[in-house]
Structures are given as C-alpha cells and as structure tokens.
C-alpha cells in the first residue's frame, strides 16, 4: 500500500472486471442449469453463445430489424436451438457414460463453429450500436457505457432467473430432478421435459450473454473461447451451484481485470488458471459445489 497507489485506477479496473465478470456469471448460470438438471458437462456453452451473437447480427444488421425485435427473435431462436440440441443429441445419450455425453458436446461446439464459418465466414464483425454511448460516471470513476449497461442487463436477468427458479414449479421440478431423477420421475415430475426446459432456458440465457459480449467486443467465430473462462468459473464455483457460478464469475472477472492491468494482457489467462488451480487444491469440488459430483 504505497503512497503512490492509484485508487481511482484500481476502482475503474475493478468495475470493468465486474462488468466482464457479470457476463461470465450469466453464462456460468446457463452452464449450471444444464449440469444440475441433466448432469451433462456442456463444453459447447461458449459456441452456443457465439451462434446467438451471429443470429442477432443476422436479425439486427442483415435484416435490419428494430433492436428489440432482433433481441427477442435471437432469444427465441436460441431457445429453439437449445431444445433441438437436447432432443436430437443429448436425449439419445441418456444412460451413456458422462464422458461420452461430454464428447458429444465437444463435437457440438465444432459443428456450431463450422456452421457459423460457412454462413458468415471466419471474418470478425461488429454488431450494430444499440446502447447509449456516453461514458458513465460512478463517483469519480469512469465506466465504459457498454460495460455498464451490459452489467445492468446481466444483473437484471440473473435476478429474474433466480426468482423464476425459486418460485415457479418448474424450478422446484428442476431442483428435485437434480437431486434424484428416479424419485422425481416417480413423483409425477416429467423428467424429460425438465431436461428440455433446462436446455432451452440455458440457451436463452446464453443468447443474452452472447448479444452483450458481441456488443462490447465484436463477434467472430472464435469468440466461443469465452466458454473456456466460463468453464473455469463453474469449476471454481462448483459445477452444480448457482451461487458458485455467480461468485465464481465475479471472481474470475476481477482477477482477469487486475492481472491485465497490473501484469499485462498476457497474464490474464495465467491468473485465471492459477486461481483455478488454487481452488482445486483447497476445494476440489468447487467453492460451493456438493461433494458427490462427476469426475471427468
């Protein structure tokens, strides 16, 4: 704590970190919903997010729909894709080993990248501007407007999702299914529909994350690597913990931002994975995860 420490700079960096951390948390939430309901480790979450960003690009830029219609259309189409993926690729894997299903999602991510590159080529693109452009001031600290509004959207959506799953019967069904599938099934809970619902909801959540990530940094067929950070988030937080995804997302976001600012951009990933290793050493099942989770 030297006298020359720039607190304002630190504060601004931290806010930016929280901004990207919110997006990680949101995507982590999508991952956790799928894992909780179906016990599938979905490596394709980053690519699902990417496909949604391109769908938004197609609707908002190519078809020039109003922004609200493009967002709505993207979320609905992404949900449909999620349901389709569950029905055609994941459901048939029921009863197979977790590794096999995991590999299916690896394949899925390649397919999604392939489709996007076929349709839109591999060139990076920019999404149309739709957020207010004036810098936001929090006290003395300045926050990039896209990061600020992105975080706002993210926080609202996370809140809504938590409320829905807390109070809606489907949320109860999800928790019961996550806890014991056979018991839930015998209790009148339609387990296949819970699976389908989980994938649909996760794809929709990932779609919103994809739109915000794309709006901040542009879109490209390689933006699915965002999913790698998300994987760190959910492993840090615990694969089956919603709270874990939220806390883990913010933690990874902050660590990446601090490492990028004080150590240099190339240290971002190193810091993230160092955090991962430390957490795995201390709590192998994640900060908030339950003990009896899959070993991959």
């Amino acid at each position: 704590m030297s006298a020359g420490f720039d607190w304002l700079f630190f504060f601004e960096i931290s806010l930016a970190g929280l901004g990207s951390g919110g997006l990680l948390a949101l995507t982590g939430l999508a991952f956790v919903i799928i894992y909780k309901a179906t016990r599938v480790v979905n490596l394709a979450i980053g690519e699902m997010l990417m496909v949604s960003a391109y769908l938004f690009f197609a609707l908002a830029a190519s078809m020039a729909l109003p922004i609200w219609a493009a967002i709505l259309g993207t979320v609905i189409a992404s949900g449909a894709i999620g349901a389709l993926v569950e029905r055609t690729m994941i459901r048939p894997m029921l009863g197979e080993s977790p590794i096999s299903t995991f590999m299916v999602t690896v394949g899925l991510s390649s397919i999604l990248v392939g489709i996007v590159e076929l349709v839109w080529t591999a060139d990076p693109r920019r999404l149309p501007e739709f957020m207010p452009g004036d810098p936001v001031l929090l006290g003395e600290a300045m926050v990039a407007p896209k990061v600020f509004y992105g975080f706002l959207v993210t926080a609202l959506l996370i809140g809504a999702v938590l409320l829905v799953f807390r109070f809606w019967r489907g949320g109860v069904a999800l928790r019961a299914t996550a806890s014991d599938q056979a018991a839930a099934y015998s209790m009148g809970i339609n387990v296949p529909r819970v699976f389908s619902l989980a994938w649909t909801a996760a794809a929709m959540i990932a779609a919103v994350a994809g739109i915000v990530v794309g709006a901040i940094g542009g879109i490209s067929s390689t933006m699915g690597v965002f999913g790698l950070s998300v994987l760190v988030v959910v492993i840090v937080g615990g694969l089956d913990s919603v709270v874990g995804a939220l806390v883990g997302g913010l933690m990874v976001g902050l660590v990446e931002a601090w490492a990028g600012a004080y150590l240099g951009g190339e240290f971002k990933m190193i810091a993230t994975f160092a955090l991962l290793i430390v957490v795995l050493l201390v709590r192998p099942y994640g900060l908030f995860g339950t003990h009896e989770i899959e070993r991959l």
């Binding site: 829905v164 019967r169 015998s186 209790m187 809970i189």
Partner: protein, 271 residues
Amino acid sequence: MTTIAPVLEIDQLTLAFGGVKALNGVSLQVMPGSITSVIGPNGAGKTSLFNTISGFYRPASGTIRYRGENITQRPAPQRAKLGLARSFQNIALFRGMTVLDNIKLGRHAHLKTNVLQALFYWGPAQREEAALRADIEERIIDFLEIDHIRHASVAALSYGLQKRVEVARALAMQPQVLMLDEPVAGMNREETEDMARFILDLRDEWGITVLMVEHDMGMVMDLSDHVVVLNFGEVIASGTPREVQSNPEVVRAYLGSGEVAQRTVVEAAST
C-alpha cells in the same frame, strides 16, 4: 364379494433385458383395500416388476390395468398423478432438502399453478387448496411420527427414519395404491415393528391399498392378505400367507431342498 374388481391387474407381463427375461408372463391381481406382498429369492424379478408397474421399464408384452384402465403405455409421471405412488429399495430422497420439503414435493403432481400465477397471483382458490394440502401434510407427519425431524435435512437422518420419510412423501401424493419396495430392509426390530404398524394403519385407517416387496418373512406373513411368489421371473405360487407357506415349490425356491429347510419353514409357519 366376487363383484369387487381388482384395483391393479397385471396380465402376462414380460420384460426382457437383452436375452435375459426378467419377467416372464407374470400375472397378478391386487384387490382394493388389501395388503399384497411379492416375495421371492434375490434376482427373482420383484423390483423389475415394481419398476414396470410404476412405468420405469416398458414391458415387451402384457398389460397393466389400474382401476380398469390400461396404463401399460403411460409414462411414469402420469401414473403417479393417477394415484400410483412408490418408495424405493435404495432410498431415493431429495438429499439436499429438509423432511418437510421432501414431503411437499410429493404433492407436486397435483399442483397446477403456472409461472405467472406463482409469481404475481395467489388467489383465494389456491389459498384454500394450499390450506387443504398443509392439512394433509400435517396428518401425514403426525401419523408417521416424524414431527420432531420435520426441519432436519434428510441426509442427516438414520436409515430407518429416511425410509419413513420416503413413505411420508409417497403418502403426500394421496395415492390409492402405495407400492413399497422393501420397506423394512436394514431396519432393527423396533423400527420394523413401527413400520409394520404403519402399513396396517395405512390399509385400515387411510384406506390405501398396499403392494409391497419384502424379504422379512415374519412381517410378510403377519401383514399380508395375499402373497405372490416370484422365481426366475415367473409366478410360482400365490394365495393367502398360509397357502403359500405350505406350497412345496415355494419352499424349494426359497430355501433350497433338504430337511433343514423344510423344518425352518414349518417353524416359520407356526410363529
């Protein structure tokens, strides 16, 4: 007497896993208000039969009729809604939740509120229904004597209590037929006697038909109105406990042949 129709009627049920026939032409009837037990050596197909009746397995052939309706093709959740509840051989409770939450989930099948109602609207009809449900839950908790652990996490409970909570959860579904898969397995004598008393009360006070799989012969013979014996996926005998006990084929299947086995059965029959 003969005009009473069976509540559950299983006809020529066959279930195969690859080349292995877990059930081979199994037929049995469960009369309303009875306690019917399915017994048989390990691997005889008792749990397979249960899983087929509750809809976890699809039979290769045969029919399952519940209150006269053919439910063979119905998925498990629908059967639960019709009033066919079950417990599991290896306890299947929602482990992260409390006893009360587990019981509340038992009524899941009967709730019809959608997301908007749950979030924004809580009308008088729902309130009334909720009160009714709460009343039933209280009765169940009272009946099974689990009041003192209602807020305990199920994972922390003893095995015997967990089994009891499982029965409570099944009861919350307000079943007409309750299927119990080894309700007293692994229990000590006192817990077994408690459970036996509960099962009798279920029939006599709650009017619930009980179909159970159990290895505890003393309990099966004491409680059952009707006993069905399975061996290698086939029904080898059925009838009252006394009839089944004196059936030589049952003795052979269960205890092997030989003098010691014969004497054991005779002793069991006389207790």
